[in-house]
């Protein structure tokens, strides 16, 4: 390397010369920089994958908006339309319309009479769907395959009922022939009911089944397509909203606002998890950079002594850092596409549509940019330290810097450290804000991450120090290889603390997710305890009620009498004299204005506690009890007035009581309980609830289905399985991404081994010269890595439990220490660490001693 000199003093090193030197160094030891590149790549890959996936998903959503809706405009409501409303729809000009009815019901095959809960969807195949197409097996169209006497079913139904295409399926009172399997449903995302396998049926078929009664829990969707000459979607939507005031009206331009919002939120959350991996990787990079620069000390001193300025050297290593960030980032972006392709495999059930995956530029650039920026940020401290290298180092290798610093120097240095820290924090918050589009979330994230890292660092340091103290006390009584292995943790240049922090944080993430998932599911499981209802019966007609009740009572394994809940569908019109838009402004939940389930009870139902006011005496009229939480939101207290409408009839009531319910009885979900008189002579359906011992449930279902095929049975255990399945998929993705943090930790470990390679080789050689065999040396290294892994595991376990404790406390779910999970995490980390450590030292173990000694 040559530095051009002018007559007075050396000119500044040009950027291109700096780049050349940086690149040469990079070329000279590519293996050394490999870990740095991988550290950067890990975080970038995770981030690119997540954002690439959401971007693809978003694009698919907007690209297929009409298909997903199967219409231009859709109106959804939870009751049958009145004649007046139908007339209004009929009067719409230039519009084609079709009706889709969705409900849950029971279905069974003759060979297996235990009925299965299914999601029934009734359509008119001559019109539906307006956009998109069904994919059927055997191949066909709805128009040719779906007849009044046939059904099309989801693959899972065939599996669970052990049925085949061509078999007969009993739905309600009628039997249908299974004509084929639905492989793809364009508007599945907009289904109202998500429980159980799909059964597609014609509207005539549904009518024949006798399932649809006034008051049945069914969702109605009116799909509308504009004729090509009248393409005013906005106008049509406004008209429909006027005709059907209770309906949720959407048009294709919205592309499912709830889903889009949910997707944004999920994308933000997952991006932050990726950012954690990225920060951990960056810490690793900074450690490697520091080690690299320390090894370069004499060269830096030499450069300074021949006239290079700090800024020249800074320029070289700044470029080198950026270069490493760029290479790592590019590798990460490429790997990110692999991550993007993995996500749908992990979360197939969560995804309402199959996104067309592509290589989105924006996600790639976001990943690359974030990766480079984070790398640069965390490398600032070691880079800025370059300025402190003194040329005298050329002459004396061991200069003790701290003692030589004057007070001003020390103060300047501390100020510099603070400034750097503030810059890093602000920039990190900026990155988080960019990823989440929310300053608040970004600020919280940064604060939480920094606090956590501080505490983890503190714990890691304390553990290392404690171990060292213990080692000093006991070292000579320890077996020699253990003593030696433990001592190795304190090898100069070892990045034990960094390894502990990064591995520990990764373990913490994964374990927290696991502990949360377990605690919440266990809590759900436990509420299914004995005696409480575990079977819910839906859509019992009034004339069936006593029959169903006595049939249930006769079954084996049934405890107690069936709880009954009458339901009347209506909507909320007025609260304290205010109605319509005024209520919307008061933040009264919008769905109440569209559709609300009313029930009655003249006594306090099981599982309810009156918090204020008193329940009315039997026979009273015009009274209502409101769930306390909802009352607060609506600004309703005892004595407030409300008006409900049921089938055009106004029902004015006064609030008599506010209650809280335990959610475990049949009244558990009710929001309004009226006095019986208020709802007299209105169409009503009944829900039932009862506890049946698990082994007797199939038998009970069979008997009930044989006698009352239109009554739907929901087994809470099945429902819990569904919930558990969804929770499982969500946590799979989170764990998958959290695993990148662990990977970052392992790479830091490998890189720590690599950066102490020379020291390790020398140790190995000396040991071999003294007569050590390879197994013995491997054992010494093994102890070092095992203990490091165990310590990291402990750090992770401790913080995961603290975090879980706090989160569960907020969810009001009891916390329990899970010893097995904790031990498994610690041991697992140790195994990973040993494996990584050994892999990184294989070449070190095989060294022939003389080659090394000759290098002296």
């Amino acid at each position: 390397m040559t530095l051009e000199t002018s007559s007075v003093r050396p000119r500044a090193l040009s950027w291109s010369a700096a780049l050349r030197i940086a690149w040469r160094e990079f070329q000279a030891a590519p293996a050394k920089f490999l870990f740095v590149v991988v550290s950067v790549a890990i975080g970038v890959a995770a981030l690119t994958g997540v954002r690439g996936f959401t971007e693809s998903f978003q694009k698919t959503l907007t690209g297929q908006a009409r298909t997903i809706l199967a219409a231009d405009v859709s109106a959804r409501m939870f009751r049958q339309p009145s004649a007046k409303e139908i007339a209004g729809l009929n009067a719409l000009h230039g519009v084609e319309r079709t009706q889709v009815t969705e409900m849950v019901s029971m279905a069974s095959t003759p060979s297996d009479p235990i009925p299965l809960l299914v999601s029934l969807k009734a359509v008119d195949p001559s019109r539906y769907p307006f956009y998109g197409a069904y994919k059927l097996r055997p191949a066909g169209t709805l128009r040719t395959e779906l007849m009044p006497q046939t059904v099309l079913v989801g693959e899972d139904l065939l599996i669970r009922l052990r049925a085949q295409v061509g078999d007969s399926l009993k739905v309600g009172n009628s039997s249908f022939r299974i004509a084929g399997v639905v492989e793809r449903e364009p508007d599945r995302m907009n289904s109202s009911m998500g429980i159980g396998p799909r059964v597609l049926i014609t509207q005539q078929g549904l009518a024949a089944s006798g399932l649809l009664q006034p008051g049945s829990r069914a969702g109605e969707r009116f799909l509308m397509r504009l004729n090509p000459d009248a393409s005013d979607v906005k106008g049509l939507r406004a008209q429909v909203e006027k005709i059907l005031p209770e309906a949720q009206v959407t048009d294709f331009r919205e592309a499912n606002p709830a889903l889009t919002q949910g997707l944004d939120r999920a994308s933000s959350m997952l991006s932050l998890i990726c950012l954690v991996a990225m920060v951990l990787g960056a810490i690793g990079v900074a450690m490697s950079m520091r080690a690299h620069l320390e090894q370069r000390m004499d060269i830096l001193a030499t450069m300074k002594s021949i006239g290079a300025r700090s800024s020249d050297i800074l320029r070289i290593y700044l470029l080198q850092t950026l270069l490493l960030g760029l290479v790592g980032g590019l590798v990460g972006v490429v790997a990110g596409f692999g991550v993007e392709w993995t996500i749908p495999l992990l979360a197939a059930k969560l995804l309402p549509i199959e996104p067309t995956l592509r290589l989105p530029m924006r996600a790639g650039l976001a990943g690359l940019g974030t990766g480079m920026l984070t790398t640069l940020l965390f490398c600032l401290p070691p880079l800025l330290d370059i300025r402190r290298v003194k040329p005298s180092l050329v002459l004396r290798r061991q200069v003790e810097a701290p003692s030589e610093m004057t007070l001003t120097e020390r103060w300047q240095r501390r100020r510099m450290q603070w400034v750097t820290t503030v810059i890093i924090l602000l920039a990190l918050a900026g990155i988080a804000a960019g990823l989440t589009s929310s300053l608040t979330v970004a600020a919280w994230f940064t604060a939480a991450l920094v606090t956590l890292l501080l505490f983890i660092t503190l714990l890691a340091r304390t553990l290392l120090r404690l171990l060292r103290t213990a080692l000093t006390r006991t070292r000579l009584s320890l077996p020699s290889f253990v003593r030696h292995g433990l001592s190795n943790l304190y090898r100069p240049g070892n990045q034990s603390t960094a390894v502990l922090i990064s591995l520990g944080a990764g373990i913490m993430l994964i374990l927290t997710v696991f502990l949360m998932q377990n605690a919440v599911l266990r809590d759900l499981q436990e509420t299914l305890g004995k005696g409480l209802p575990n079977i819910f019966l839906i859509d019992i007609a009034t004339d069936e009620l006593d029959g169903v009740s006595s049939l249930i009572a006769k079954q084996a394994g049934v405890h107690g009498a069936m709880e009954r809940l009458p339901l009347v569908a209506g909507r909320l019109n007025e609260v304290n004299g205010k109605s319509g838009d005024e209520l919307k402004q008061q933040k009264v939940p919008r769905h109440l204005l569209q559709s609300v389930s009313l029930t009655w009870s003249d006594t306090v139902p099981a599982g309810m506690k009156v918090h204020s006011g008193t329940w009315w005496t039997p026979g009273a009229k015009g009274k209502v009890a409101v769930r306390e939480g909802l009352a607060k939101r609506m600004h309703v207290t005892v004595g407030s007035t409300m008006v409900f409408t049921v089938q055009e009839r106004r029902i004015p009531v006064t609030v008599a009581a506010l209650y809280e319910n335990d959610g475990q009885h049949v009244f558990g979900r009710s929001e309004f309980v009226l006095s019986q008189q208020s709802l007299a002579h209105l169409p009503v359906v009944w829900y039932g609830a009862v506890h049946v011992d698990a082994p007797q449930i199939p038998q009970m279902q069979r008997a009930l289905f044989a006698a009352y095929p239109t009554v739907t049975v929901i087994n809470i255990a099945d429902l819990l399985d569904t919930v558990a399945g969804v929770v499982h998929q969500v946590t799979m993705i989170v764990r998958f991404l959290a695993a990148f943090s662990i990977l970052a930790g392992l790479v830091i470990l490998a890189s720590s081994v690599a950066s102490t390679r020379f020291r390790r080789i020398r140790e190995v050689v000396v040991l071999k010269t003294l007569g050590a065999r390879r197994p013995r040396i491997a054992a010494v290294f093994g102890v070092e890595f095992t203990v490091l892994g165990l310590l990291a595991g402990c750090v992770g376990v401790i913080f995961a439990n603290i975090l879980t404790f706090i989160l569960l406390h907020r969810l009001e779910v009891p916390y329990r220490l899970q010893w097995v999970a904790a031990a498994a995490a610690a041991v697992g980390t140790a195994l990973l660490a040993v494996l990584t450590g050994w892999l990184a030292s294989i070449r070190i173990l095989g060294q022939r001693p003389l080659e090394v000694l000759r290098e002296e």
């Binding site: 001592s487 007569g771 390879r774």
Partner: protein
């Protein structure tokens, strides 16, 4: 006894094949103090390394007390080294994470004797005492001066009472006073236990005290002379 037959060693230095040793034949009887001399690059250290089985020769054989070692694997070599050899390096090569006492104990423990640490510890303490470091037992290498580190290394080399001690410029990194001290300790060991001592050195004053001087040049032995009364010289020097 060390026997060397037709020993050759070449290494690939980037693109070139460099012949470091080009055919060496030697016999060093038990109890002899032999100094290996020669200019830089003549192959002294390589020869010493091959004697210790620290690398495999390209051709030829090294026989330690009747055992040919050139074709043993790493672990078999390690065992031989542990039993027969003590090795002293120019730059001490103590394990930095272990104390002086632990460094000295290492060969003992590596020899599978860890269960007798108590006995080993007594020996190691005694050895450190004999090299004048009784008060430095629990110091780490960084806390010791160069001379002290080399004396720890000597104690380590003597720990298993090996019949052969190989030393690669043991005084090369030390000032004359410390160098003299270290040399004296090596010679005392050689005298008292009749160990074979093979030492690579640049220093003619050191080699004068050897019983035999082997001079290498370009990978060949060009001179191999016995000195008259080495012990007398040594003692005379000591007295003066």
């Amino acid at each position: 006894m060390i026997e060397v037959q037709g020993l050759k060693k070449s290494i690939h230095n980037g693109t070139n094949l460099v012949e470091i040793l080009r055919g060496i034949d030697l016999t060093i009887p038990q109890g002899q103090f032999a100094a290996i001399m020669g200019p830089s690059g003549s192959g002294k250290s390589t020869l010493l390394g091959l004697l210790a089985g620290l690398d495999a020769p390209t051709e030829g054989e090294v026989i330690l007390d009747g055992t040919p070692i050139s074709h043993l694997n790493e672990d078999e070599l390690a065992e031989i080294r542990g039993r027969k050899l003590g090795f002293v390096f120019q730059s001490y090569q103590l394990i930095p994470m272990l104390t002086a006492l632990e460094n000295v104990l290492l060969p003992f423990e590596l020899n599978g004797s860890s269960h007798r640490t108590g006995e080993g510890r007594a020996r190691a303490t005694e050895l450190l005492d004999s090299v004048g470091l009784a008060d430095r037992l629990h110091h780490y290498p960084v806390q010791l001066s160069g001379g002290e580190q080399q004396r720890v290394a000597l104690a380590r080399a003597f720990m298993l009472e090996p019949p052969i001690v190989l030393a690669d410029e043991p005084t090369g990194n030390l000032d004359s006073h410390n160098g003299e001290h270290v040399l004296e300790l090596l010679l005392r060991r050689h005298r008292e236990s009749r160990t074979t001592l093979v030492m690579v050195t640049h220093d003619p004053q050191v080699s004068e005290r050897a019983e035999r001087r082997i001079i290498l040049h370009d990978g060949l032995v060009i001179k191999d002379t016995a000195t008259a009364t080495p012990m007398a010289v040594t003692e005379a020097n000591c007295d003066s």
